[in-house]
Symmetry: C2
């Protein structure tokens, strides 16, 4: 469903380092956004992107995008450690920013970005795709809001990802640049915890990162886990890893288990193993019985519609800025806990 | 499959406080054991048991069983806090003991029991049913041993249980008697971790217990979680709770997720939600592809056959004494961690 007519909301893409840029772009176009410009320092990558989106005009420098007066939002999936600096340039140019997660890679960056948001009044949106661009994950939030499971007591996320090592760029293995597995993959999971539980803050109980199986890439972390307790008392645990088996017909068998005071939810977010892939399914059980809910294609991803409205109306309906930053902060605190433990 | 002919292996049951006694008994009978005597202080409960097992002769005192020269094993599911004392009386009578889990409820009891085993040479078997009497859980161990998932990096157990509050005896809500949710339900989970990972020791990272929803029973714990790291480096996390929704056609949707260096396993131990109940299924994925394995009724529960052999041959094929006690010790250390944190 589109919330604007053609040309009413114009955006550009810049820094195409992570393929998430395709999901960010298609989500906005699906909600009615008009893609005007595209920039990347790698001409081949830029060309590839523009062939998929022929409406986008390739430009030769990022400055051309910052200077373009007809666009309202810059969409980006840069190398993680560079996302903050790019975002602050965008905000200072008077535009809003929509970055791939993780939105920043250090607590110092986060502080600078928070200050910049305050000073400029700009919006620093984050593509926490594992909830925002996943039907089951989105619908779970709706069910919880309706009271289907009562008070949320625990959110538990299993988030295996396929490594596909030969396809990965150098920065993917350099910790200073990707930020650590909890900063990166963990931020998705923490965001889901905060969204489902309604927590406004949380404390780290335990965190651990490991490189179990890749001694040739000593800075790579192929396993992480994180336990927190939220201010409502809700428990959170996640395991993130790069161990999706080669034979699984999905990049990762992502699951969420939510225990509520009045019912439980299971999310099979990408695959229903041995049965269906792709899949996006919910399993709800409460006093009324149990129910399997097929969500694939069912939600239309309202996040993107709301994001556009928020840019135009200066509202906060897609996600509060506080929430987006808190998810990043807590995952980086988890990373710091794990790094300290390991050192 | 039976490993002895009728009368070759004789046992008695005594202290029928937990219905697990039915599973313990049927497992042994299925493996060829002969049930000779039954004792319980509650004549009605004893009568109910003997009606199900007409071959068992009800006796009027526990001493009659301790004195009976024709039995080799006493099987028991007493109030948890009394299991150690009962077990030591059994061992000192020259017989072996097969108790429901948790085998003890305090570290002091564990020390006394370990000493008693050493002094008497008796065997103190524990009914960790969630692995030993579950087809998928048993077969998972076989697959891991065959190398189906490579090195085990993590074992994660979700173990919700139905409270069925009106059916529960008083001791169920008195912490001194049931030992705490990690001591009780947690011991199953730790046992599975040790069995699947091959760890010989582990350290507690974090543990938490809560009474989220039962203020009328202040000593009851309806939620627990426990994180450990084993000596192989393997990670363990479990959540145990009494929040099985009323509408679920199973006492608990028990799951195990095992991440290996070369593949992954999911166990649906009691139900395949919205599809089949009871169920006992395995989902294996590795470089060969993905596979759903229906295990229900497939294993014959070899633990019971081995237990009988171990009693007769004085071997340790069913489970080492060290392993049985270590699972209890680690779950009690987790409970102590959580109790300290809460106090």
């Amino acid at each position: 469903m589109t919330v604007v007519s053609s040309g009413e909301f114009r955006f550009a893409v810049a820094h195409l380092d992570h393929p998430h840029i395709f999901g960010q772009t298609s989500g906005l176009i699906g909600a009615g956004g008009t893609l005007e410009y595209a920039y990347d320092e790698d001409p081949q990558r830029l060309d590839g992107f523009c062939r998929l989106h022929p409406g986008a005009r390739p430009v030769r420098s990022f400055d051309e995008i910052l200077d373009a007066e007809d666009i309202q939002l810059v969409v980006s999936a840069a190398v993680p450690s560079e996302r903050a600096e790019i975002g602050m340039r965008v905000l200072r140019s008077g535009k809003d920013y929509f970055t791939d997660k993780a939105p920043v890679t250090t607590l110092d960056q986060l502080e600078a970005v928070r200050r910049c948001v305050e000073e400029t009044g700009g919006k620093y949106f984050v593509y926490y795709a594992e909830r925002l661009h996943n039907d089951a994950a989105w619908h779970a939030g709706e069910l919880i809001e309706e009271g289907a499971v009562g008070r949320v007591l625990q959110v538990l996320n299993l988030a295996p990802h396929r490594l596909a090592k030969p396809t990965r760029p150098r920065w993917f293995f350099e910790k200073r640049r990707y930020g650590g597995i909890l900063t990166d993959l963990g931020s998705h999971q923490v965001e889901q915890f905060l969204a489902y539980s309604g927590c406004q803050s949380a404390e780290i109980n335990f965190a651990r990162v490991e490189n179990f199986g890749h001694p040739d890439e000593p800075q790579f972390e192929d396993f992480g886990e994180l336990s927190m307790t939220g201010d409502t008392g809700a428990s959170f645990y996640t395991r993130v890893d790069w161990y999706t088996p080669e034979g699984l017909p999905s990049w990762g068998d992502g699951r969420t288990f939510i225990v509520g005071s009045e019912g439980s939810l299971e999310l099979r977010k990408t695959i229903d193993p041995s049965r269906q892939s792709p899949a996006s399914k919910l399993y709800l059980s409460n006093h009324e019985g149990e129910r399997e809910i097929d969500c694939l294609g069912a939600t239309g991803f309202p996040f993107f519609q709301r994001l556009i409205v928020d840019v135009l109306e200066r509202s906060e309906s897609a996600m509060t800025q506080r929430h987006a930053f808190l998810a990043a902060e807590l995952s980086m605190l988890g990373q710091a806990f794990a790094d300290l433990r390991r050192s």
